[in-house]
Amino acid sequence: MRPGGVVGWALAAPALVVIGVFFILPVIAGLALSLTDFDLYALADLSTLRFVGLDNYLRLLHTPLFWQALGNTLYFVAVGVPLSIALSLGAALLLDARVARWQGLFRTALFAPVVTTVVAVAVIWRYLLHTRYGLINQALGDLGIAPIDWLGDPHWSMPAIILFATWKNFGYNMVILLAGLQAVPRELYESARVDGAGTFRRFADVTLPMLTPTLVMVAIMTLAGYFQLFAEPYVMTQGGPLRSTVSVLYFMYEEGFRWWNLGYASAVAFLLFVIIFALSAALLRFDRDPAAGR
């Protein structure tokens, strides 16, 4: 080992110990737990703990509610992530526009939902979404649309959750994208204009390619975050109606902390980890291969 190596390891050791104790060990313990049937009975008497191998995973694949939860989560991710990023990008472009005034004020206002408490905001959104007295249905009523039972109808509950989550989160990505936009050299736009490119061509051929790395990072983080949908259904619908807003994480929470099937819940957690990992890896390829982004 190089002489510097020892010093390096010594300096890194405190951080490594913390990561080991608070991250790696729990992850290994969780993985081990997912191979057992740790439940209420095992909590009372450890001798009833059984090693079940991959049974939890196999059982999971045969549980209709898990597939429904996965379907709900994919619905949320497939609609929510593009919508959220499009909204963030739109807001960032507006803020970045030369004509925009009071940029600081708007940036703060649009970022505000991100730093609010989900539970508090959910109370307000429940009022907004109320079938009879809600502002949203009143506005729709003015347009001649019959009232929608947002949180009671299984077809509308997920769109309501998506709406809420998107509103709550788009500000975060907006700030990152705004920073990305401001880093695009102005000369590129100037030369594009000299070459006769219109607004749309400049956006498609200058802004988007320059923004690709930022967009990929934003997409990965949003994807990973949105897959972990939990607090919104927890405070708004408790998974209902007809379990239409049960997400994978909500399913795991119910199994683990409501029914105390910790072994089974750990298996859910690992499966979710594998899914997020695979999708993030797939997205990263866009970033590595510059041609793929254009």
Partner: protein, 455 residues
């Protein structure tokens, strides 16, 4: 959800790296001081928790926790040496909190416990049997409604033991609009299923398409559960397998789903009904299967001119008055408590008929002791009388930790039948398969216990 939150702290986490060396040392010293002081606090805390003369920690839920403080002065007057510390838990978080406290060894001395949670905490061996203490005290067990008391008796290896004393009771009866019922030609509330159906049909016929006979919210398992209890056992083989595909439950489900099929009940969950009391006042439905808290709510929320037109009646049974659910809360003492005697003194005090009457006056909660019902506030109260009658006929739910979950699964199966997604046969067969899978560990434990006994 974690969309922004897990990423946000990363920006903040970078900050300490910029700390200069002296700053770091100061920080380390501060941390050391913090660690030392927190160790002291922990030690002091431990000392207090194990002290037999310390205050009795009493966990209570929701409204009961607010009200119990008003009962305590009378208790302190009698037991000046016992201090009580009441902690309020919200109902929605209480179950998790109890299990987590058990796992973390930080249970209180005394707790208010929904009686359907008793099997779970008995399975954890967390509760103190109360038989001996009751025998030595003035608490008269035969004064309690038998069905309610039974929910606190659990089978153990050493026979049946009493693990809690009922604090207040809950069951389901019929709330109804007496004016609508009379107008439809029924002077008396229905006592059997056929009478009930006839009354609902008459009301529907008279009221037209915007009236229903009864409101049975699709996300509430209790009404169907009460009807099913009237038909027979829901589990078989020593509570290790479901009996939902057997004729008794199928009959109950057929009656329940039939009410919806005939258009006598709206297929709605109670999140879809903005205000049950408004709709009841408007006459959207004439019957409502509900519990004691709605006596107070109906008085508060229904318009004055309607106050003479609602009443309660015991739940109709297949062929005459029959059983309903045995719910409510019990007072339990935890095995881990170092202050069991002091905690028991409080249980004794709260179980006295006079205290129960005051408790009823403060909360509207119905007392579990018959002698407490002699108070004029209860004996002369017409809506409460139906409960008094019903409480003589209540039946405990299966006493297994998995029951709460089976209960939910049962309602989901019923919902699928009502929404015409499945037939009664298919839904109950599938329900039994689900329940059998949930009870697999129970069967294994039982087989293991039998094998050890044989050896």
């Amino acid at each position: 959800m974690a969309a922004g939150s897990p990423t946000l702290p990363r920006a903040i986490r970078g900050a300490p790296m910029r700390l200069t060396q002296p700053g770091n040392q100061a920080r380390r010293r501060a941390l050391q001081r913090l660690a030392a002081s927190s160790a002291l606090v922990t030690l002091a805390g431990c000392g207090r928790a194990d002290d037999p003369r310390g205050p009795v920690n009493f966990w209570a839920m929701g409204r009961e926790a607010e009200v119990v403080a008003e009962l305590l002065p009378a208790f302190h007057a009698r037991h000046p040496d016992v201090r009580v510390h009441v902690q309020q838990l919200p109902w929605t978080a209480a179950h998790e909190k109890l299990l987590t406290a058990y796992a973390g060894g930080s249970l209180p001395d005394l707790c208010q416990l929904g009686n359907t949670w008793l099997p779970e905490l008995t399975a954890l061996d967390a509760l103190e049997p109360l038989d001996a203490r009751v025998a030595d005290s003035a608490v008269a067990l035969d004064d309690y409604f038998a069905g309610i008391l039974d929910t606190n008796v659990m089978p153990t290896a050493g026979g049946h033991r009493l693990f809690g004393l009922p604090w207040y009771v809950d069951t389901r009866v019929l709330f109804f609009r007496s004016d609508l019922l009379r107008a439809a030609g029924h002077a008396q509330p229905p006592r059997s299923w056929p009478e009930w159906l006839a009354a609902m049909r008459a009301i529907r016929l008279r009221g037209g398409s915007r009236t229903y006979g009864v409101l049975l919210p699709l996300n509430e398992p209790d009404p169907l559960f009460a009807l099913a209890l009237q038909q027979g056992a829901l589990l078989r083989d020593d509570n290790t397998r479901g009996a939902f595909s057997q004729p008794p439950f199928r009959r109950a489900l057929a009656f329940y789903a039939g009410i919806f099929r005939e258009g006598l009940a709206p297929a709605m969950s109670n999140t879809q009904i903005a205000n049950v009391w408004d709709e009841f006042a408007r006459g959207l439905f004439a019957f409502y299967v509900s519990g004691p808290w709605n006596i107070g709510e109906f008085r508060r929320r229904l318009p004055r001119e309607l106050q003479a037109d609602w009443a309660t009646a015991p739940l109709p049974g297949p062929s005459g008055p029959d059983v309903s659910t045995a719910g409510g809360s019990s007072l339990v003492i935890f095995k881990s408590s170092p202050r069991k005697l002091a905690a028991w003194r409080l249980v004794e005090f709260l179980s006295e008929p006079a205290t129960m009457q005051r408790f009823h006056a403060l909360t509207g909660n119905l007392p579990p002791r018959r002698s407490a019902w002699r108070a004029p506030a209860l004996a002369a109260d017409a809506p409460s009388r139906a409960f008094a009658e019903q409480l003589e006929r209540v039946r405990a739910a299966p006493k297994i930790p998995e029951w709460e979950r089976i209960f939910q699964e049962m309602q989901l199966a019923a919902e699928r039948v009502v929404q015409r997604k499945q037939t009664i046969e298919a839904a109950t067969t599938e329900l039994d398969a689900t329940v059998d899978a949930l009870l697999e560990k129970r069967r294994w434990l039982l087989a293991r216990a039998q094998a050890t006994a044989r050896r």
